[in-house]
Symmetry: C2
Subunit: 392 residues, 2 copies
């Protein structure tokens, strides 16, 4: 039969990155294209030990239906941790456990946006969020990123010119794909603009705990006095990505609505792994574990930067991140990122063309994203060598 | 601030059943209101054993990001099982692993329905599905159920009168909440009507494996020659509900679209438990396990029916299911189901009023749903005794 898909999804295509991920089956391909945490960062033994104890001690609760909001103990722990680590108070806010950070993004858009509404996002931005917004037929408006975060004047222009704006979507810390941080001053400005133009900020912070250089900058949510900010994050980069456990902290009224749509989306997040996260934080030192991940990523990032400095500093400009998973590279000669990615694949190294991260998918740009968390040290060295050959 | 929620969700409220579930903290309350599988039905020891071996043997794959479609081996196993057990061929169809059966329902509506479109459902029907449809601002049209399934003449009238119908949502086997099965004749008729009026059928079959009496009836999907039927089901009632692993089998083109929206919804389903389901089917006899669950539910259903026969047959009519989790009871004197549920709670026994399951939430009806899988035998006996007192 001839299927009539809904207007909101009929033009949607699979994410380019996910498709690249699927085609990674060529064993000779080195992927610098992923956004995966390092396999070395998963605390297998401790997770195996907790898992055995969950089956022995609380098997029924771990395998039966649970409540949509999430495992109550984990919710309390996250509320406490958000207060301690991010300065995010729980007065007026609630925490809900989500199926990865992605679900928090998806459901926030679902509860706040009608078809034809506008979401302002950074240019470039996280493809998974952009596609989630597209799946509700929201119009995306990209605002240029500078080294210290979004261009504030252009943001205000975008807000002025798009009265149907409902959300500003931001990854202020170790931005995906650029790896940069928004300055404190700009964070304050963005919050002021959200107040002035009566819109909500969705602050996505999956990488905030992965700082290996520089100084922490307060989250926008920590400065939010009026329930203007929905904050989401995840355990994907600190415990395991495949378990799909994230969390969202937002104004009570918004979280209540998200609970209602989560209920009909997946009822609740896998309860066994919610318990596992909770017990990990209770029984082990998660901050020591995160400190190890930071060390690992600093070493990997430094290695990739050294290889880039040695081989490609004449041809490329690139960010020097203080945390997160990504480096953003731009061709000094203005060559198309798509063309570079194709040349790279011919040399058996995968990178993600910058255009993938743009609100307007038809644009090209002379940039591409590199990931240093997933490849081994040898793959980083060989990958950058191949990239250098591709750009010769 | 004053939040402006999207039109599709602004009037949505939490599911009455989930709210009842939350209020079940009163230790003296006996709940006959749940839809949970029996805690006795979870194969804890085998799951614990597999879990330990996954951590020992394939920890990276079990904790890292995976592909949206699902664990490839589990997909193959389910395709084979759907062929063997349900007569569902894979020519033209694909299988995707979903985060519970609920996600399959939610995302099918998302890819097929615009706001203002119509979904025809059984009256009464599963509240989780109705609310998922409402969350896309779809109009619901309920069609009366008879003892052998949906009223076919009324269904055709509904299709005629609602040209914007995109989907017919059905639970043909051990229907929730009524516990009845649609006859083979009606299944064929429904498929003919879907062809005639060019709509898709969403066949929800979470209870199909739980038959403890009577003869199997072919699924509608098994008779689908033209890609008219999307079929979804779950491991929730046979392995564990809390792990949130379900599956959907539908026409390739529809499944491809569902993959795209699942990608932006939760990226993929918890991969560890996908592997666990796969290894369970590989290493143990899942049919023997299901046979045990059937025996358990037959005993519990018989017990509840005996108690009803002894105490309430003068006041109530009720279904006598051949499988599934539910009995549907109707007051012979026409008393409101909401009034009965309130009287029951006063006697410390919880049932779900029938109005909860109606497309038109403002309607009342003289019925309520009873569940026999979750309560212990003692709770079934005492629960029906309390219900009898409530109806005195």
């Amino acid at each position: 039969m001839n299927y009539k898909f809904s207007n909101k999804v009929k033009d949607m295509k699979p994410s380019a990155i996910r498709e690249i991920f699927k085609s990674m089956s060529d064993p000779e391909m080195i992927s610098l294209a992923a956004g995966n945490p390092s396999a070395e960062s998963f605390p297998y033994d401790k997770m195996a030990s907790i898992s055995a104890r969950i089956f022995a001690e609380t098997p029924v609760a771990a395998l039966q239906y649970s409540i949509t909001e999430g495992y109550p103990k984990l919710i309390s722990q996250m509320a406490k941790r958000l207060k301690e680590k991010q300065g995010i108070g729980t007065d007026g806010n609630d925490v809900i456990i989500t199926s990865g950070g992605q679900q928090g993004i998806d459901l926030t858009a679902k509860v706040l946006c009608n078809e034809g509404d506008v979401i302002i996002c950074e240019k470039p931005s996280f493809i998974g969020a952009l596609n989630a917004f597209r799946s509700y037929k929201v119009n995306l408006v990209g605002v240029d990123l500078e080294k210290d975060g979004i261009n504030i004047e252009m943001l205000e222009d975008a807000l002025k010119n798009n009265p149907k704006t409902k959300l500003i979507y931001l990854i202020p810390t170790f931005q995906n794909p650029m790896g940069i941080c928004m300055s404190l001053e700009k964070r304050k400005k963005v919050l002021e603009l959200a107040e002035k133009y009566d819109v909500v900020i969705l602050e996505d912070n999956p990488y905030g705990e992965l700082r290996f250089g520089g100084e922490d900058i307060p989250t926008i949510k920590s400065m939010d006095k009026n329930g203007r900010v929905v904050y989401c994050s995840t355990f994907s980069k600190i415990l395991s990505a495949g378990m799909r456990v994230g969390y969202l902290c937002g104004p009570k009224e918004v979280v209540q609505k998200i609970v209602v749509v989560k209920q009909v989306n997946d009822v609740h997040t896998n309860i066994f792994f919610q318990m596992l996260c909770s017990r990990f934080m209770e029984e082990y030192d998660i901050d020591a574990h995160i400190a190890d991940i930071r060390k690992l990523y600093k070493r990997k990032c430094d290695l990739m930067l050294t290889e880039l400095d040695n081989r490609l500093s004449d041809k490329l400009e690139y960010t020097r991140p203080d945390g997160g998973l990504f480096i953003w590279a731009t061709a000094k000669n203005g060559e198309s990122g798509i063309a570079i990615a194709k040349k790279a694949v011919a040399q058996k190294v995968a990178v993600v063309p910058g255009s993938t991260f743009l609100a307007d998918e038809s644009e090209d740009c002379p940039s591409f994203r590199l990931n240093y968390s997933t490849p081994s040290d040898e793959q980083i060295i060989e990958g950058i060598a191949r990239l250098s050959k591709a750009l010769d």
